[in-house]
């Protein structure tokens, strides 16, 4: 039996071989050097997706350990050998989820899908996009290694000279990661604006492309403000003695950056969720949404409410800003566009009786779960800004964060299933991706619930919510939620690895047949 015969005996490999032949002409000439020299936007997007999924595994493990540290079984300082180390991991978990996992994951999917959706032959500035990937990867390694070496974004319990130096390195890594993501975002936005099909107006582009364009605008006009924060902190930290902003022995550095992980800025990750959900539901139903301009408007309004550079409270007294009308209005209004989209897609879904296979489709379940979790996160965000509830400085902050993270990750899984042939030239296992959606949804739900309930019960503000006040049950729920979330990530990583193996087998088949 020849290699070709053995490979094509597997129908999955055979269909992938067809996809490889039709989608990537010349792929047989791929070499080990390709990731360093490619100017193919799809290949660069795949690199982002692969590496960000690996970082997702890392972040999930850190998250589970941090949750374990909050449980009653051990003291937080015992898990990571000291309070400073615990604080480092607590912050690393949040930063890595946003900058190493979710933003690059969405960017990667968009780099593959969006040019095709708008009729562009390739991504605009593909070399800049490749530079963005490698800068992001180098920056993320610098960031993580420096945190593990004693750096991080401040400390709670004094620092040594070496730890101060490591913190400077962490800031450099963080800055590099943000600049790289901005370069990739710029490349994507320019593709939609300048390279789309001549006959397609901006409002006619598919919902995902539109949501990525709008998200790109928010990212381009929000993330640079974090760079400004980092520049100020770095300049102070590297002085002979830090005088105000870069005091390494305090949590001040984190407090200057935490606005990025709190509402409204935290919603900037979630803008593409709306586009992915709209496309997935339409694809499963087999109908186009009747009022595409309504979807565009909903996505645009939500993006506007995610602009958050103005909401940092480190430089002013917190009550000046966060009790202000604008902050409260942003918090309350964010519920509206998500609810509107849920209503619009719900109406579309119920126009005709749903078939059972439509109801159990991973994309349908995932889109519904992502929107409902995002809706729940915005509702928690709305509760958080209602002053009498006194949730602003409580763990409810992290309930919003976890809700958004859960929604974005589920939407990313949906996108990987929906565009699996474009992304991987092979289909992603529906069973594994379905399990991933359910596990991530359940785990994220538990995290949101435990953080929110703790926020109501807790009487003291605590930036880390080191111990969830209330009961042992909450701490256990939080830990179980983190582990379940991690299992969900492992499921989709396994599914993607399987798809990539099928793709490699298909390429081998193709090479054998051409030889």
């Amino acid at each position: 039996m020849t290699l070709t015969e053995s490979a094509t005996a597997d129908p999955q490999v055979a269909s992938a071989a067809t996809a490889v032949t039709t989608s990537t002409p010349g792929s047989e000439t791929q070499t080990l050097a390709q990731p360093f020299v490619t100017s193919d936007g799809s290949a660069i997007g795949r690199l982002f997706v692969m590496v960000s999924l690996l970082w997702a595994m890392f972040a999930a493990v850190i998250g589970a350990l941090v949750a374990f540290g909050r449980s009653d079984a051990v003291e937080p300082a015992e898990v990571f050998a000291g309070l400073n180390a615990y604080f480092r991991m607590w912050t690393l978990y949040r930063v890595s989820l946003m900058l190493l996992v979710l933003l690059p994951l969405l960017l990667g999917v968009a780099m593959v899908v969006v040019p095709r959706q708008v009729g562009a032959a390739n991504l605009a500035f593909p070399r800049a996009a490749l530079a963005a990937f490698w800068s992001w990867l180098i920056g993320s390694v610098i960031m993580v290694v420096s945190v593990l070496a004693g750096g991080g974004w401040g400390a709670l319990d004094g620092v040594t000279r070496n730890e101060g130096d490591a913190m400077a390195l962490t800031l450099l890594g963080t800055g590099l990661v943000i600049v790289a993501l901005l370069m990739g975002t710029l490349s994507l936005a320019a593709t939609v604006i300048a390279l789309r099909d001549a006959e397609t107006s901006l409002l006619d582009v598919p919902p995902f492309a539109w949501s990525m364009l709008v998200a790109s605008a928010v990212w381009l006009f929000t993330l640079p403000i974090a760079i400004a924060n980092i520049v100020v902190v770095y300049a102070d930290l590297r002085g002979r003695a830090a005088i105000a902003f870069g005091r390494a022995e305090s949590p001040d550095i984190w407090l200057q950056l935490d606005w990025l992980f709190e509402q409204p800025a935290v919603y900037l990750m979630a803008v593409p969720v709306l586009g992915i959900a709209a496309e997935a539901v339409s694809a499963v139903l087999g109908t186009r949404f009747g009022r595409p301009e309504a979807i565009a408007a909903i996505v645009g309004i939500f993006a506007l409410l995610a602009v958050g550079g103005w909401s940092q409270d480190y430089f002013t007294a917190p009550q000046d800003l966060r009790d202000g009308l604008v902050y409260v209005a942003f918090g309350l209004a964010a519920v509206v566009p998500v609810a509107a989209l849920i209503g619009a897609l719900g109406m579309q879904a119920t126009q005709n009786p749903l078939k059972p296979q439509q109801l159990i489709d991973t994309r349908m379940i995932g889109a519904a779960a992502a929107l409902l979790v995002l809706g729940a996160a915005t509702v928690v965000g709305a509760l958080r800004v209602i002053e009498p509830l006194d949730l602003l400085e409580s763990s409810a902050t992290w309930a919003v964060f976890h809700g958004v993270v859960t929604a974005v990750f589920i939407a990313a899984v949906v996108s990987m299933v929906h565009w699996s042939s474009e992304l991987f030239d092979a289909s992603v296992s529906k069973r594994a991706s379905g399990a991933s959606v359910l596990l991530v949804g359940a785990g994220g739900g538990l995290l949101v619930l435990s953080d929110l309930v703790s926020g109501f019960i807790s009487e003291e503000s605590d930036i880390m919510a080191l111990a969830l006040d209330g009961s042992v049950l909450l701490n256990v729920l939080n830990f179980v939620g983190s582990v379940t979330f991690a299992l969900g990530i492992a499921a989709i990583v396994a599914a993607v690895a399987q798809a990539m193996r099928v793709r490699e087998a298909a390429e081998a088949t193709l090479q054998a047949s051409t030889a």
């Binding site: 800049a128 936005a189 381009l220 924060n229 520049v231 430089f315």
Partner: protein, 194 residues
Amino acid sequence: MRTTALPAPVATRPRTVAVGSLLATGAAFIAFAGLVVIYVQQRQHARATGQEWFPEGSVELGPAGMMMMTLVLSMVTVQWAVQAARTEDRPHGFIALAVTLLFGAAVINQFWFVYADTAFAIDDGVAQLLFYVVTGSFIAMLLAGLAMFTVTTIRALMGSPGRDLAHTVQAAAIYWHMCVLCYFIVWYVVFINK
């Protein structure tokens, strides 16, 4: 032939380089604006609590005004280079580039003078730290602008005839004009309003 048989006009899209340049320029401006906002907030806080921001008479307005004038002039020479690149006029293009580089160098030299004149140490206080952060970031942006402008202009002028690269010079010019706008903000916020 009936006019209805004619093909539909092709929609014109902005050049990719121009779009990319606008987006990058916007992002750079936002980052710089973020720095200036921190500066203003800290100064307001200091004044509200009765603290002195800069020691009396330590920051002179004269050199800062000269820099403003120099940069305004550079906007003209930058557009001169863009026009020369469009018409593939090498002599004018190189003169415009040289004069722009001279203006840029003059501004950096003037900043050197300002730093020597004020004699601030970076860790003297919040005011001094932020003074160096804001002006230092501006100098870094200006150097990036000079490098970008030089490379694009030389590529456009030395490239093969007929190959239209003037839009790359225009893209660099957009960034340069944003730098001048940033300096206008520095001039007003840091030097005039001290």
